[in-house]
Symmetry: C3
Subunit: 158 residues, 3 copies
């Protein structure tokens, strides 16, 4: 029992480090939260619920994540904004064949220069997590967001 | 000490399962989080603070909760919306006579079709929780919300 | 390992008690979360990131905090509002010389009489925490907020 509970704490720490890296704009660290062949998907809830394949972002390896970071930091022209993730304690759903299944609800707030903070993207992380010698790593993270309408374009990872 | 801390984790898991059931629209599961004779109340902070009895929703048994779910899913005509609960780690306040007292701050975001997500209802859960063979169950949950003005009608449980 | 994880829980309880005291307007209890010579700072992210000294609030002792509480509750004329803090599980960053370093992301929602709740201030707590016979106490809390534009004046502590 107590082991299962401690697992929540380990995942909370993973989620807190993940959120801190993104919100503090240490984007280079973001792919390091994943396994080399991990998947990262950002998908509208409507499509997720209907098992439709269309996703806003669908990256299928750590390499693609690094490309994405390069795009964000070096090439995409966009209006700058700050993000702030507030993530609920994780719900640990089980472990099978070395894969931990967990989810967590998140709210991401956006702040543009000179403007008030606003609700940007809310939803849940649906995760598969693997224990490695370097700690817990994401084998798969699907960000299912409620909003059909995304405020302007979504540049930074959720 | 450590037992009291682990209790926070158990309550966090309860709150996470509760939030997931509501936000994923598994409303039939909602009454199962409560004891048969449990109370569920949604009350404005202003009334709660003054100990006034008026509440937006006041259900006094699991049976009334099931009625409410039937109403929501079968009979009430309303504009559909998604909800997303983000709940803070629970504050464990004590245990007396087998009843655990705890509270947690929550923010519920609402997303209507084709619209951006918005702050819907924020407040705190004030709970009495009982340990049963089937896990922790709510003997009483009072949702005390800050907003005096509720955006349109509140259809789904908080 | 497990000790480090339990520390997260202790800090989560500290943050939950802190948030509850503020949101329930028990302002007199607020300085008690700090050591006598503790620092409390509320600073825009832009200034924090550039290591600029300008801060919205900079209190350098528990005595100054008590003065602030006196000001809030007895002397400042301001439009009343409710606050609601939703705080993520804490990220424990290390312990050195008896000082625990931790941070947590927060969202504070504001509700004015007769109005809907709105996003008020989002950011992170950057904390130094000390273990005392009376439990964990803040030696330093820096609230770094994303918004450059603060909605009206910020009266109550974050």
């Amino acid at each position: 029992m107590s082991d299962a509970l401690l697992l929540q704490l380990e995942i909370d720490q993973l989620n807190a480090r993940y959120a801190a890296a993104l919100d503090e704009r240490r984007f280079d660290e973001w792919p390091e939260f994943f396994l080399p062949d991990a998947k990262y998907t950002v998908q509208a809830r409507e499509n997720f619920d209907r098992k439709l394949p269309l996703a806003l972002i669908a990256l299928e390896s750590q390499g693609m994540m690094k490309d994405r970071v390069y795009g964000i930091t070096q090439t995409i022209y966009h209006g700058p904004y700050y993000t702030r993730h507030v993530v609920s304690p994780a719900l640990v759903q089980g472990e099978e064949g070395g894969r931990i299944r967990a989810q967590a609800h998140y709210a991401v707030f956006r702040t543009r220069p000179g403007d008030a903070s606003e609700v940007y993207n809310v939803g849940r992380y649906i995760d598969e997590i693997v224990r490695t010698p370097a700690g817990l790593k994401l084998a798969s993270r699907t960000c299912v967001y409620d909003s059909e309408m995304v405020l302007n374009s979504l540049i930074y990872p959720i």
